[in-house]
């Protein structure tokens, strides 16, 4: 990492009318980093990215690339290139012409351009595709052309606006890996926008979770998953059972919590007031045939399996238990419970650390 960040945003705000689409956002992206912004639609992530690309200008704040303010630099002069959600390949140009467009704009032409086009096509695995029409390509190939079109210009920063959204599931899974590999091979800074937490978690070095124009939390995928700092992050990143209730007081090793549905459990949390919300990941729930087997856990309860949702490695059980809303637990693939059926009695438990409590 160099001393100066590739991209830094300082208190960037964008207002449309009276509404702040982006509200005083600060962050830095280091050289070579794969940085994602994760958030639901309408959270302001697209506006943020369009400001970085130069299609919108911030109401206040500063955007700097390698320390240089970009506010006065038009989109076509910024060392930033973008992969659009629709890819926006030029349909009337061939693959080679699509890639050569940016080079021509930069004044690179003739043999040098041809060589750079051939080299980049080779690196994205599309050797010899130059003369093809873009309409003849498969979804994955189009994706690669769109990225090659940016990378050939050797930008400081590549912006990607949910480019995988239009692909089918299998290809999307495949492209996640490919994108990550491309990024590390080129060692170019990527900034990735998505509402799909799996895309963000799999590919990114760091993820910013965005909600209502603000960053809720910035951290590695691991941090976000295991140590969410806000209720929103806990709910948005990863899967969770979400309970509401009220804090009944602190005890040694945790906080007592009385659920709205009646049960009393122990969890961990800070700044807890009357109304709280608690998050418990399905894989953090330990299952057993009887309560005795879970004696090490402060929270342990009996219940009944109401449904088995079989999905291979991601199979879950829905458990009915007195005092709880129906809760989901990951079904272990091995052991005595692997073959459990609906209607069977089951015991479940979890550590206080696994139950994250936030103010509602």
């Amino acid at each position: 990492m160099s001393d100066i960040a590739d991209l830094s945003l300082i208190a960037v705000t964008k207002r449309f009318g009276g509404i702040a689409a982006v509200d005083a956002v600060d962050f830095e992206v280091a050289q070579g980093e794969f940085f994602s912004i994760l958030g639901p639609s309408g959270c302001g992530k697209t506006t943020l990215m369009r400001m970085i690309a130069g299609f919108e200008s911030p109401t206040s704040g500063d955007i700097r690339i390698r320390g240089v303010s970009m506010l006065a630099v038009p989109a076509n002069k910024r060392p930033v290139n973008m992969v659009f959600q629709s890819l926006a390949l030029f349909p009337m140009m061939s693959v080679g012409e699509n890639i050569g467009y940016g080079l021509a704009c930069a004044g690179v032409s003739g043999p040098e351009a041809a060589e750079r086009i051939a080299r980049i096509l080779d690196r994205v695995g599309l050797s010899g595709f130059g003369p093809r029409a873009v309409t003849q390509l498969s979804g994955g190939q189009r994706q690669r052309v769109a990225i090659a079109r940016c990378l050939v210009l050797e930008p400081t920063l590549v912006l990607l606006d949910e480019p995988l959204g239009a692909l089918d599931l299998k290809l999307r899974e495949h492209m996640k890996i490919e994108l990550k590999q491309l990024q590390s091979a080129f060692n170019t800074t990527f900034m990735y926008i998505t509402h799909d937490q799996s895309e963000a978690l799999v590919m990114s070095d760091r993820v910013a979770v965005m909600n209502k124009g603000r960053f809720e939390q910035v951290g590695t995928p691991r941090e976000l998953y295991h140590n969410p700092k806000t209720s929103f992050v806990a709910g948005f990143v990863g899967d969770a059972n979400i309970w509401s209730g009220s804090a009944a007081g602190a005890i040694a090793g945790g906080t007592r919590l009385k659920l709205a549905t009646g049960a009393e459990v122990t969890g961990m949390g800070t700044g807890i007031d009357d109304g709280v919300r608690a998050y418990l990941r399905p894989e953090a729930i330990a299952l057993a045939g009887s309560l005795d087997e879970l004696s090490a856990l402060p929270n342990r309860f009996p219940g009944t399996v109401s449904t088995v949702l079989f999905d291979g490695a991601a199979s879950t059980l829905v458990i009915d238990a007195a005092g709880f809303p129906p809760l989901r637990a990951t079904l272990p693939q091995a052991g005595p419970l692997a073959g459990i059926e609906a209607g069977a009695a089951v015991a479940f438990g979890f550590t206080p650390e696994a139950l994250k409590i936030f103010p509602a």
């Binding site: 076509n76 629709s86 926006a88 009337m92 704009c105």
Partner: protein
């Protein structure tokens, strides 16, 4: 779907096949009647008529005399060439003026302003061509509005005549052609994704590069369709050249009119009509070749 024609012929003997054939026949009959009665038949008749030469009163013979007359008489082919060149000029000017308008309507106008702008382009066409042309005459004549305003503002010392020249003729024709250029252009440009334009800038393109490499190529079918329509309308216009063109503004349609109506020379008029048909077909063909557009593709994409 299998080709219905093949399916129909494979099942000719079944009643269902017959029914399908009858249906197809009934479907295309109006089109054939339309083409036959209103397009082909008159042209065949004009073609035959153009080959008849007058020898004496009520005595005619077959020959190419009318076409030789066209070629050997400079005033005829001068007017012909003048009409062709001015029509190309008018088409080009119409395109240049309409393009920004269409681009604005298609890409920059938002919300209600879009239909309102479109309506504003359309409103003049609620009046007949005659009325529109008369409107221009009111504005441009020596005792007209523009001349008056120029004098009032002290720019002109005496009444200015802006009518009855090639300038006023081109102005009137461009005005009459604009809508027919704007509509296909707007259609073509509306289908251009905003992201394509943004990508054009994002990859380093200037306004000019984006226009030349992305917007214009995308709008090409609309440009060609608009140009064909405007060219055809201009070449075949009669009212505007007669009224705005004045003493020097002889248009080829006037030659045709005068052969038919004032000289009673139908064969000559027919020959001229055929030449005009050849001219527009030829120039449209040339235009399509130069822009690399297919005719059927142009029709389909607009």
């Amino acid at each position: 779907m299998a080709n219905p024609k093949i399916m129909a012929s494979a099942r000719t003997l079944t009643s269902e096949g017959l029914g399908e054939r009858l249906g197809l026949f009934l479907l295309i009959t109006p089109a054939i009647l339309w083409l036959g009665l209103l397009v082909i038949l008159p042209h065949v008749e004009i073609g035959i008529l153009s080959l008849s030469q007058r020898i004496a009163a009520r005595v005619y013979t077959i020959g190419f005399g009318n076409y030789f007359e066209f070629l050997s008489e400079p005033i005829y082919w001068h007017t012909f060439a003048r009409t062709a060149l001015l029509s190309i000029l008018v088409t080009a000017i119409t395109l240049v003026i309409s393009f920004p308008v269409a681009l604005y309507i298609a890409k920059f106008a938002v919300g209600k302003s879009k239909p309102i702008l479109f309506l504003m382009c359309l409103i003049p066409f609620w009046a007949s061509e005659l009325v529109r042309t008369l409107g221009w005459m009111m504005l441009l004549r020596e005792a007209g509005v523009v001349s008056f305003l120029l004098q009032w503002a002290g720019i002109a010392g005496k009444p200015v005549e802006m009518l009855y020249s090639d300038g006023s003729l081109v102005l009137g024709l461009v005005y009459g052609g604009m809508l027919f250029m704007i509509v296909p252009l707007t259609n073509a440009l509306e289908s251009l994704e905003n992201a394509q334009i943004e990508a054009g800038y994002d990859l380093g393109g200037t306004n000019f590069t984006v226009l030349r490499k992305i917007i214009i190529p995308h709008a090409m079918p609309g440009i060609v369709a608009g140009a064909i329509i405007v060219f055809m309308l201009t070449v075949g216009n009669f009212v505007t050249p007669v009224m705005l063109g004045g003493k020097n503004g002889l248009w080829f349609t006037e030659q045709i009119y005068s052969q038919f109506i004032t000289r009673f020379n139908w064969p000559q008029g027919s020959a001229f009509g055929f030449m005009l048909l050849l001219l527009s077909t030829g120039i449209v063909w040339l235009g399509l070749r130069l822009t690399g557009q297919g005719f059927s593709e142009t029709l389909r994409r607009t």
